[in-house]
């Protein structure tokens, strides 16, 4: 299932098809549940699709394989995008997605590793994913193992100091099998990140903590794939990929609008959103 380096047009087309499939199902799921975080789901979808269908060495039939790559969703509120991706990748039944956030569903509003195969750690409070990812990467470093750790963070979440504690440790230890992807959609729950507490110059900040940094269009599957295939970008350094994204990507009336952080579309809005995604 993992796509090898030098992937061609057909591979990229497949990733695009997967991403559209995830977006459509996720939208439906959020409307059915009457709950979720669709704006951030849609900004992260192309990153998730590229990782799960092109990069991660994971096997749904062996979700606890000690040699698997670890993927940690630090922005745990985007569980909807993760569940949908895990479902299409074979970790959970696609049919189960309709239980999202229903009473006693294992698909809680934030992911639970003890219920959902493929989830590595329980996230929800922000700024937790990177420290755990750093710990996993140190574990692999101690063992001289070849598996890699990927952490997807939101951008607003980088206001949490715990990220920078962990970034310092990762830089100090030269964890070059650790990659952070920042979903840089420039919005947090209440406002633009730069109007709330400024994150820029974000790349310089990561570099100053000892990381190799690349910036990429977070919706360009070919560019993402190319970067992931070149990891580590610098031997002896952890990698930070700043993925420039659009909150609500793919649905015109949601794009770049802070209110779609956790607003739920009406049935009419869902129909129009699915139509747009069909036309893509």
């Amino acid at each position: 299932m993992t796509i090898t380096a030098g992937a061609g047009q057909d591979v990229v087309a497949e990733l695009r098809r997967r991403a559209t499939e995830i977006r459509r199902r996720d939208l439906q799921m959020v409307v059915d549940a009457g709950n979720g975080h669709i704006g951030g789901d849609l900004s992260a979808t192309d990153i998730l699709a590229t990782l799960y269908f092109g990069v991660l060495r994971v096997d749904p039939s062996r979700p606890n394989d000690p040699q698997r790559d670890r993927f940690i969703l630090s922005k745990g509120h985007c569980a909807g995008a993760l569940y949908t991706t895990l479902a299409f990748r074979g970790f959970i039944p696609v049919d189960e997605l309709h239980t999202f956030m229903a009473p006693l569903s294992r698909l809680n509003g934030h992911p639970d590793r003890n219920k959902v195969p493929g989830v590595e750690t329980n996230t929800g409070p922000l700024g937790h994913g990177l420290p755990v990812g750093v710990g996993a990467a140190i574990g692999a470093q101690i063992d001289g193992a070849s598996w890699r750790t990927f952490v997807l963070t939101g951008d607003g979440e980088l206001q949490e100091g715990s990220n920078w504690e962990a970034a310092m440790t990762a830089g100090h230890r030269g964890l070059d099998h650790l990659t952070v992807i920042v979903d840089r959609n420039r919005f947090q729950q209440g406002d633009a990140t730069e109007s709330t507490v400024r994150l820029d110059p974000l790349a310089d900040r990561w570099r100053a903590f000892g990381w190799a940094v690349a910036e990429v269009d977070g919706h360009d599957h070919a560019a993402l794939l190319d970067l992931f295939h070149r990891l580590p970008l610098e031997p002896g350094k952890p990698t930070c990929i700043i993925a420039h994204t659009t909150k609500g990507k793919g649905v015109s009336f949601m794009e770049d609008r802070a209110e779609w952080h956790h607003k739920v579309p009406s049935r009419d809005q869902l129909a129009s959103a699915l139509q747009e995604l069909n036309d893509e």
Partner: protein
């Protein structure tokens, strides 16, 4: 205090950790610039690659512990208890307990062991904070043997643990024949007039108080309630039923700790009069560790006086 030899339980902790490290290469230590205070220098010397020092960064300390467990390690996350629990409580809740990560949290120098360093360094809220969290076993050993066994038990029992250790000198209470079990109190002395329930550094004082009470003609049962969660409900119910009165003693605030935990059981099963001894909801004044225990009446005489007052008060249950 008795004249017997006193032990700093950090040594028993460090010795057992080293022993476990020899047996199982999955055992690793995580520190926050706390190699000295947690007495893990010998472990670092023996297994330099298996001691991870994240610097002065408690959120990362606990998060890294959870990540190491994800990688298949058995991490002992060792830090001054005040910082480990107070600074990283959300990581303890989400990354360790809720995630069910196989992490062993070790709070060093708990209670008021840091003495005159003051309330910033006292850890008298840690029972309340940790016992409120689901899926976290909380143990406060009383002496070197119990410390050794607690560390061994934590390493060999999958799931999250919080071990609350002290640096204050304590005499040896338990012999080699003692067997620590999670959630089981140990009857150190039997008695029928009232029960003293204690843990950690207060156990030796509870035993001394029982001696003083004996001179007054009162036979006190003494329970070492090392495990604060899960609690030994049966031992508490038996104590209430058999002795009709309970005094709890802890090196902790009286809000939400051992006494509260015992009272939660007592009021719902066999309601009997209780006295809850501990730090009475204040920040401690300046003073050394032993001085502070005296100041708050957490001594053999203080426990005796509370027990006498309780024994002479009207009983709810005969």
């Amino acid at each position: 205090m008795s004249e017997s030899q006193l032990y700093d339980c950090r040594h028993a902790f460090a010795d057992m950790l080293l022993e476990l490290g020899e047996e199982d290469e999955r055992i690793v230590v995580v520190n926050n610039d706390s190699v000295g205070s947690s007495n893990t220098g010998a472990f670092r010397k023996r297994f330099p690659d298996r001691l991870v020092n994240v610097g002065i960064a408690e959120q990362t300390l606990v998060g890294v512990g959870a990540g190491l467990a994800n990688a298949g390690k058995i991490p002992f996350v060792c830090s001054a208890s005040c910082f480990l629990t107070g600074r990283a409580l959300e990581q303890i809740k989400a990354d360790v307990a809720y995630s069910n990560a196989n992490v062993k949290l070790v709070g060093i120098s708990s209670g008021m062991a840091y003495g005159a360093l003051g309330p910033t360094h006292h850890s008298i809220e840690d029972f309340a904070w940790t016992r409120a969290i689901a899926n976290l076993t909380v143990i406060a050993p009383a002496d070197p043997e119990e410390t050794r066994q607690a560390v061994h038990l934590a390493a060999h029992t999958p799931g999250p643990f919080f071990l609350r250790l002290s640096r204050m000198g304590v005499p040896a209470i338990h012999g080699k024949d003692y067997k620590l079990a999670v959630g089981r109190a140990n009857v150190l002395r039997d008695g029928s007039d009232l029960t003293i329930i204690a843990n950690g550094v207060m156990v030796t004082r509870a035993l001394a108080a029982a001696d003083l009470l004996g001179a007054e003609g009162i036979r006190a049962r003494v329970l070492n309630m090392a495990t604060v969660r899960p609690l030994d409900r049966d031992a508490i119910v038996a104590a209430a039923r058999d002795t009709g009165a309970i005094v709890t003693v802890e090196e902790h605030t009286v809000f939400g700790g051992l006494g509260s935990a015992v009272a939660e059981v007592v009021v719902q099963t066999v309601p009997v009069p209780m006295r809850i001894l501990g730090v009475p909801g204040v920040f401690a004044p300046t003073g050394g560790a032993e001085w502070l225990l005296e100041h708050f009446g957490l001594t053999a005489a203080g426990i005796r006086d509370a027990a006498l007052e309780l024994a002479r008060s009207p009983r709810a249950v005969a």
